[in-house]
């Protein structure tokens, strides 16, 4: 029997059953009420109670069944399972209509049911975190069982090309061992991030200062949507922009000074990444600066400081924790940014200080090692998960720090719009 007809039978049975339950429950409640007996809840609440608790066993069996198939237990044929589920539903409908009387707290039971469903939804959201953690950590552990952990953290050569030979059973004495030293990759990541922050922090912060302190309301209303557009541009588009427009521009520019630049230079990727981060830093710092209370500003102006001095010596120091948090969030965005570096930075792990050479990042290596036709449990594929684990831990720590700082800042100034 096809999956579609199975679903059809399941829902074709469930929905009429629940509708029938609703009618039955409500009618029974109305009958009791017309006898003049005082009831706990309203008739339609009895209807809902009867419908929901008729559906509950059916759906529970259905969900458990689907999951057991996904996990690979397929002892019971699906048709049997559906028949069992529906007959359980009919049984519970029978029991409900039999037992229900004026003392049944239908309203509270419906409330409990809905609360339970909402709780399940919240549970699924939490599961995501653990899903990420478990999936990355287990695969990373597989990787570290094969390759040395310290070699990964402190090794300076990344040369996994021969890993697939070992995966194909052709590894041996004559094949050079694959090397997984991630230092050049980490170095490239931090270097490109640093370039991006050099672009984004001054421009973003100064834009925020101008917007929150100097600009008229009219300018603000016009500029803010433009910044939102800049923030909403997908990263793949920035990547295309970096690779097709910015990189050749930089090559030509440095050619004019007689300097050789790569078409996939760290500088090009970093600058475009900086442009991407400007709106993030600008809008977060703008919120923070605006939440600095006005009486602090007025106090400073009353002491004879002019506006720029007030901003530099009073407003910015008070807003500093929030600004630091904004910069940290920008850094974590830059570290995890993928498409710009995949399209505009290099693939070659390269340990150098020269921003005009090509460099690679953690995210590029993750993409590169997962896109090919590799066996899933080859060392190369698993290395992506090890790199992912590092990325996860680093960004998590940065995020926690910045969220804590922002929370403290808002407590200090008693504003709660973030």
């Amino acid at each position: 029997m096809s999956t579609q007809s199975l679903y059809l039978i399941f829902f074709g049975g469930l929905l009429p059953l629940m509708y029938f339950g609703y009618i039955l429950g409500r009618n029974k409640a109305i009958t009791i009420r017309t006898k003049g007996i005082k009831m706990h809840s309203q008739p339609d609440q009895y209807g809902w109670f009867s419908a929901l608790y008729t559906g509950l066993p059916v759906m529970t069996v259905g969900v458990v069944g689907v999951f057991s198939y996904l996990f690979g237990f397929d002892g019971i044929p699906p048709f049997m399972l559906i028949v069992t589920a529906l007959s359980l539903g009919a049984l519970s409908l029978f029991l409900i209509s039999k037992k229900m009387n004026e003392h049944t707290r239908a309203r509270n039971l419906v409330e409990e049911f809905i609360k339970g469903i909402l709780m399940m939804a919240a549970f699924i959201s939490i599961l995501t975190t653990f899903g990420i953690l478990i999936s990355i950590i287990t695969e990373a552990i597989h990787f570290f069982q094969r390759e040395s952990f310290w070699g990964f953290i402190f090794g300076t050569t990344w040369d996994p090309d021969t890993a697939f030979l070992a995966g194909a059973g052709r590894g041996g004495e004559d094949v050079a061992e694959a090397k997984f030293g991630a230092i050049p990759i980490f170095a490239g990541t931090f270097y490109i991030t640093a370039i991006a922050m050099l672009v984004a922090v001054p421009i973003g912060l100064l834009s925020a200062i101008y917007l929150s302190e100097y600009a008229t309301t009219k300018t603000r209303d016009r500029v803010k949507p433009a910044l939102e557009v800049l923030a909403g541009i997908p990263t793949v588009v920035y990547g295309f922009f970096a690779a097709i427009t910015v990189a050749p521009l930089f090559v030509d520019l440095f050619e004019a000074f007689g300097i050789q630049a790569s078409y996939r230079s760290a500088l090009g990727a970093g600058v475009v990444m900086g442009i991407m981060i400007i709106p993030i830093i600008a809008s977060l710092s703008d919120d923070v600066i605006k939440s600095v209370p006005n009486n602090i500003r007025n106090g400073s102006l009353a002491l004879g400081m002019n506006k720029a001095e007030t901003i530099k010596f009073v407003v910015l120091p008070s807003a500093m924790p929030g600004i630091i948090a904004a910069v940290l969030l920008g850094i974590s965005r830059a570290l995890g940014e993928t498409m710009i570096v995949v399209m505009a930075a290099g693939l070659r792990p390269n340990l150098t200080w020269n921003p005009l050479e090509d460099m690679t990042t953690v995210t590029v290596k993750i993409v590169e090692s997962l896109v090919g036709d590799q066996e899933f449990n080859s060392s190369l594929t698993l290395s992506a998960f090890a790199l992912g684990l590092v990325l996860f831990v680093v960004t998590l720590v940065i995020n926690i720090i910045s969220i804590t700082i922002i929370r403290k800042f808002h407590k200090k100034y008693k504003v709660s719009n973030l």
């Binding site: 909402l118 939490i126 421009i203 100064l206 101008y210 541009i233 588009v237 506006k307 998590l396 926690i400």
Partner: protein
């Protein structure tokens, strides 16, 4: 500020310097803002400059005698120059067209045939690899009006192709729609329900706080890690087909879930507590209050947040590459289990192609994607402006 009177008894010599400094600071801040807006302008200009030409396509008028022989070998009846002008894709399709119109057989038909990518680039004044002889031929045709531009419908109504002039965005658009349907039907209900639970029902204890911190962190995790999750759990563990809209949509749903939760919570929080207390005072249960008195005013805020989160998911590429959605997909996906590609992934694939014609298509694809995203965001902002209540 007028000129300072130096004879004033209160005159301080540093004052002018300080004022100059303050002015300078203001201009620096202003120029920073102008620079960031200039980036945006330059970026948009660059995309339009590269993308607009892709919306027109060169067509050339040719006459074909429809005979069995010509249909068997469509490359045979054109001379050497015309072969390099007319698209291979069009010639290949000619027998199919003739089969669809049997009355053509034995007659001479006039066609506006699709021109190849190289001659298209020459017509648009771009780089090309045509021989001078062919270029002269195109110039002749141009003078006699036998070669012209038409609106490029192929771009919107065909899927990807290895022949640049025949490649279109259609399968990517359909793939994006399917993926977004999956994402929306998973992320929006679960996200809103989670937000309702956390904001209205959950007791304020350590567990709830832990969950909230967790969700805030999830919102800031690099998107590529969600791709790793999708690969390890959905594809490897549950066996969902690789490259399908289902796996892509589920991965994106997990990614946009925290964003939807955070914005929905903010919307619920903005409904004043007095409303809830009035409800309790009348003897309503919590769910009745939430359903009838908290959700209606919070709905616009929740919708806005969801639309913005979905727009973000629509432009996301990295996790989809990891779950294999960059496959070459010439035909649009028909269901959520078949191989699909999405707009940003198609942009990524085309941007890696060596032919110049693909770069033009990439920029055009970007224009389509950006206009969809900006429309979505504009709708969200309009909803927020129109329906948000200030209490």
């Amino acid at each position: 500020m007028s000129k300072i009177d130096k004879n004033n008894g209160f005159y301080i010599p540093q004052l002018e310097k300080r004022r100059a400094k303050a002015k300078r600071f203001k201009y620096i801040a202003m120029s920073a803002l102008i620079v960031s807006l200039a980036f945006l302008m330059f970026f948009l200009y660059d995309m339009f400059r590269q993308g607009i030409p892709a919306f027109k396509q060169t067509y050339v008028k040719i006459q074909v005698e429809i005979t069995e022989e010509n249909l068997e070998n469509p490359y045979g009846f054109l001379d050497r120059d015309m072969i390099s002008i007319v698209s291979r894709a069009w010639l290949r399709d000619l027998p199919n067209q003739a089969a669809a119109n049997p009355e053509w057989l034995g007659t001479t038909q006039e066609f506006w045939a699709l021109a190849g990518a190289e001659s298209d680039q020459y017509m648009k004044g771009g780089e090309n690899r045509l021989k001078d002889r062919v270029k002269d031929r195109i110039d002749e045709l141009k003078e006699s009006g036998d070669i012209r531009f038409q609106t490029n419908l192929i771009f919107f109504f065909t899927g990807d192709s290895k022949i640049p002039e025949n490649a279109g965005f259609y399968s990517a658009i359909i793939g994006s729609i399917l993926t977004m349907l999956v994402t929306m039907s998973l992320a929006v209900p679960i996200g809103i329900m989670t937000a309702i639970y956390l904001e209205e029902f959950a007791p304020d204890n350590k567990l709830t706080q832990f969950i909230e911190v967790n969700i805030n962190n999830l919102a800031a995790i690099p998107s590529i890690l969600f791709g790793l999750l999708g690969l390890a759990i959905f594809i490897n563990f549950f066996g969902v087909p690789r490259s399908s809209a289902l796996v892509g949509g589920m991965t994106l749903a997990l990614m946009s879930l925290p964003i939807i939760i955070v914005s929905s919570k903010a919307a619920l929080k903005s409904v004043p507590n007095t409303i809830r207390q009035a409800g309790f005072g009348l003897g309503l249960t919590r769910w009745q209050i939430v359903r009838d008195h908290v959700l209606p005013p919070a709905m616009p805020g929740m919708l806005t947040g969801s639309i913005i989160a979905l727009a973000q998911a629509m432009g996301e590429t990295a996790p989809l590459i990891i779950v294999g959605m960059i496959a070459f997909v010439p035909d649009a996906a028909t269901n959520i289990l078949s191989a699909a590609t999405v707009m940003p992934a198609q942009i990524y694939t085309w941007s890696g192609m060596p032919e110049k014609a693909y770069i033009e298509k990439t920029a055009a694809g970007i224009l389509v994607l950006l206009s969809v995203l900006i429309t979505l965001n504009a709708v969200a902002i309009y909803l927020r402006k129109k329906y948000t209540k200030t209490w």
